[in-house]
Symmetry: D2
Subunit: 339 residues, 4 copies
């Protein structure tokens, strides 16, 4: 069975996922496309042999759509996800699940009412080979119980539209999700410290930021977010346990010796760094839809948790590095909790 995916939002990320579903992932095809810009929807739909539809609601309701992919503007996510849940259709929503914790909770409640998981949120790092190896080592007890995680998330530059709050909301959110999964633990507090900012950033921006998180079991996470580091896109993660540590590898690249130096290239683009993770993410999601099983990727609850935790980080940033407690509801049974 080929999964017929309807795509809501045909912008850059939407088009990239359409390409992925069309050219990379077997077992899926894009059957319908909608966008706030109808001309763009038509053009993109034509290119992938899909039908352009006028609204998300019509797309969700279409009998030619088995599953929904939401890649529209963030503030519209929750409406479409709720629509898909109401229709009982699997839905993959790019991050964020919703722009407020309240809206995320609404989706969680709708899904609970439905009785089984339909929603997957687009945090791709859980599908990265390095993080998966790291989780295997941690789970197998190879380093003992985790105590500390040291991370860095660096981009070469960001545009002027990138704000200080986005360091948590758009950037650190990836570490927040993947570390909750890696540690199988919940984040309970956040603190954001601001070193002297680099001269190489727009004046309104605090960059770098040093974020500290504490988990329920007492693990401490430090995360450098530095989005104008100039030299490349660089993701570092080291988990320190009671008897050892495990560190994410750098991407494999040929080593060159020339002109007195031994070196390798540092990637510049997050899309290159996580290309395989994105492919695996959509491959596994497609398989879960085809099999009619619940998705195994990040859930609506994970989307809610990420929003609540980034909210706490932003509040810390705005209150001059106060330690802010994460105010999270009890985790419902549908998501492995007891509520």
């Amino acid at each position: 069975m080929t999964v017929r995916v309807g795509v809501i939002g045909a912008g850059m990320i939407g088009q990239d996922h359409i390409r992925r579903l069309t050219d990379v992932v077997t077992g899926a095809r894009v059957s319908a496309v909608t966008d706030i810009d109808a001309a763009r929807a038509a053009e993109v739909a034509a290119r992938c042999g899909a039908t352009a539809l006028p609204t998300g609601a019509e797309l969700i309701g279409s009998p030619d759509v088995d599953a929904v992919l939401v890649t529209s503007w963030g503030p519209t996510h929750s409406e479409h996800v709720l629509g898909a849940v109401a229709a009982g259709k699997p839905v993959f929503c790019e991050k964020p699940l919703a722009t407020t914790a309240a809206d995320c909770l609404r989706i969680v409640e709708a899904e609970r009412a439905h009785g089984r998981r339909l929603v997957q949120v687009g945090f791709m790092r859980r599908f990265d080979a390095g993080y998966r190896q790291m989780k295997e080592v941690v789970t197998a007890g190879g380093i003992g119980a985790p105590l500390l995680v040291h991370c860095a998330h660096r981009n070469p530059t960001v545009p002027e539209s990138y704000t200080s709050a986005m360091a948590a909301q758009d950037t650190a959110v990836h570490e927040i999700d993947v570390l909750r999964w890696l540690l199988d633990d919940e984040i309970v507090s956040a603190q954001v410290i601001t070193p002297r900012s680099t001269a190489k950033r727009f004046a309104h921006l605090k960059d770098p930021q040093l974020m500290l998180f504490e988990t329920a079991s007492g693990v401490r996470i430090d995360l450098e977010v530095f989005v104008n580091c100039q030299y490349g896109y660089d993701i570092q993660c080291e988990t320190v346990g009671e008897s050892g540590l495990v560190r994410l590898p750098d991407p494999a690249g040929v080593g060159v010796r020339a002109a007195g130096r031994h070196g390798t290239v540092v990637l510049q683009d997050w899309k290159d760094r996580f290309k395989d993770a994105f492919d695996t993410e959509f491959r596994e999601w497609t398989a879960s839809v085809a099999d009619g099983t619940e998705p195994t990727g990040p859930s609506a609850w994970d989307g809610y948790a990420a929003t609540v935790i980034t909210d706490a980080a932003v509040r810390s940033l705005e209150s001059h590095s106060a330690v802010v407690t994460v105010d999270m509801k009890p985790r419902p049974a549908l998501y492995g909790g007891t509520a």
Copy 2:
């Protein structure tokens, strides 16, 4: 357009490629399967929704087959490839193209008579990301003109059926192909030196072997083939040029510090090491078939050259390390030559 592939030979490697064409590569599907064991053909065909056919000839002739994949027993390769060329159908042939240089030449001649390339031979290393980066560095002049290449090809163990000649025919043949492509140069002589053999091999086997090749432009290649190295599957390649060198990376894996050691895992299986290369190989081949363009992978000529060069290496092994000149025909214009 979905490329309909007919598969001749449903053994282990055939089934793996069927899985790849079915589950990994978009734009292709297996439409027909044949095997010397009709029951196996039927079973495999049923699993992938293909038709089982009694013979290679019928499969090649079937209107449901756009392109042919030959993964049968080596001695039967040339017959099926010649059949496909006669039918004017693109054909992907697992290595070896044929078991003798004479049979390889027959295919080359048939393809020349046809007037355009139809044949691709299954040397997957040209599709490996590391070798491709290495070729980019070499081609861009990053290390100057190449002078030397140091290689190692190690397997943990081999079964008793593996013979000393297979070190060249089955193992070194991968380096022979990829280095001809990497250097854009021809191998003109071969010499095989036999160190003391490891105690950890079957008694009939010379293992390891140290192979030396010379190219037309005077580049020297040394290649350690060691198929009972015990510790893992390990591929090394370093190209030394007039101003620098470039080295293949080890596969990326998490680093672990524990119990007084810092380490990473060494892969054990060539299928893991070259998984992505195999996927890319079939993706690009499928695309060339779909586009109706000539394949860009290893040609019938490359299959012929590999056979002639491995023949020379085997002759050197059998003649106690004599330097054996490679006796190759002039390269026809169809393959970029002048003959």
Copy 3:
């Protein structure tokens, strides 16, 4: 001229430095030894051809002593250092310079009264080849202005006598000194965060600890102190600047591939890790004494600063991770300041 060194304190570290001055460093010899245990002094002195003297005061006053090495019990350091300064003799004092900031200041004042530097404090990391390379890169502008430093200081285990305060006083003090020197900047606040402690420590101990420091120019330092990490003695340091970063290398060791792993040994003992740094430290100190120039190593002021900063860290630890401002006097002109 051979520098005749009088050694106060013939315990483990004293004996190690005596060996170094005797067997490793040219241009120095140990001429006198004293210890609270007169028998031990006699025995150690006999072994290195020195005279055993009954007290530090007599040793300092001896005409056979050109320079003094203080390796006695910490609380006695300041008395001996003050004695040497009063006698106008160069003095090398193992850390700490004194156990209280007030006593450190007394030494600073005595040295100011004397008018030139006589005191060097035993922080050996400034003499480590890796840190020196890092400082060269930073000073040469290779990474732009520093913004963040990430450090880890790990020991395999510590004895029961090691207390939570010693994580700052005995362990982090090395990073505190070397980073002040590396950054040419002053530390102005300290915060100590306590993750869940490892099960593999004595019950009274908080281990690991995550220490945060801020410098006058706004650089932020995070330092993991983990003294029961089990796997080895491991020192990590990464300085992140406006355009790049520089990272301390791991000690060079042969790589071994065997049994499915590629790995290197992790050192177990800080004396192996910093052996060359200790040798260089004493070589350069001996040379400065022989030349009659001021020592170039850590000064009395650096000893004072380290004490004040570790005091702040201990206060933070005791006040549940409060951010504690470092209360440091203005730096006198003798030490490059303006006071």
Copy 4:
């Protein structure tokens, strides 16, 4: 006791060793210097507080000389070494021990007549920490019985006076010595293959050269000698055994990420690469002289063997890559043999 060393030959290498004996190694001092240029001898002697003497013979005979260091012009080595042996004094001779195998044998015979080892030859790699670790791993059985060794010896450039034969005599001779020691095995044949030469060399020179050696037990060694590699001074060595391999580390250097690359510096000068090895070499030699024990470094026999093996390599080079058998006398009992 301070070992009083008389130095024959005050050129560049002689002066460097004088500096080492004076400033780096404890327990030794230079007491006498001679040189073919008397003015230079006088000047160098004055600088290190030694006496200038007119001839090597007088220096060897001087009662102020406990041990002799020969760093004169190669063709004069054997005369001075024979003189020292005749005088019963320990003698350290820079490579080569003598310029012909016959002269080396004369020294061996003189030493045998004397009845105990007095001679050490200046092959410093046996004192390098990396090679020592490698030997420990090999000896401990960590990789099983050795089968292959892959080496590279690269210099950035050489002056015009460097000849093709010197690739064996001056460059490969270091690997020849250290591998005989590492493997505890004898080299029995040599073959030198000449790839296309780099354009970046003087026209008379064959560079690079690929040298192949076979040992008595059947281990095969391949060694790239490339003395105009441009990018740096780079020493590589990998020993492959029946169950694993061990590889020499690159020198530790800080890693820098900047401008899209992650890299480390490659050393340019062999004196930096083997600085610690030279220091250890003289420290251990001085200790053996002081203790009155036989030297543990390379012996006269090792000097003879190196000469015979490099002679074979040069003959192979001159006879177009013929395999040349090493014609070595039986090893006398004094050197661990049975003759």
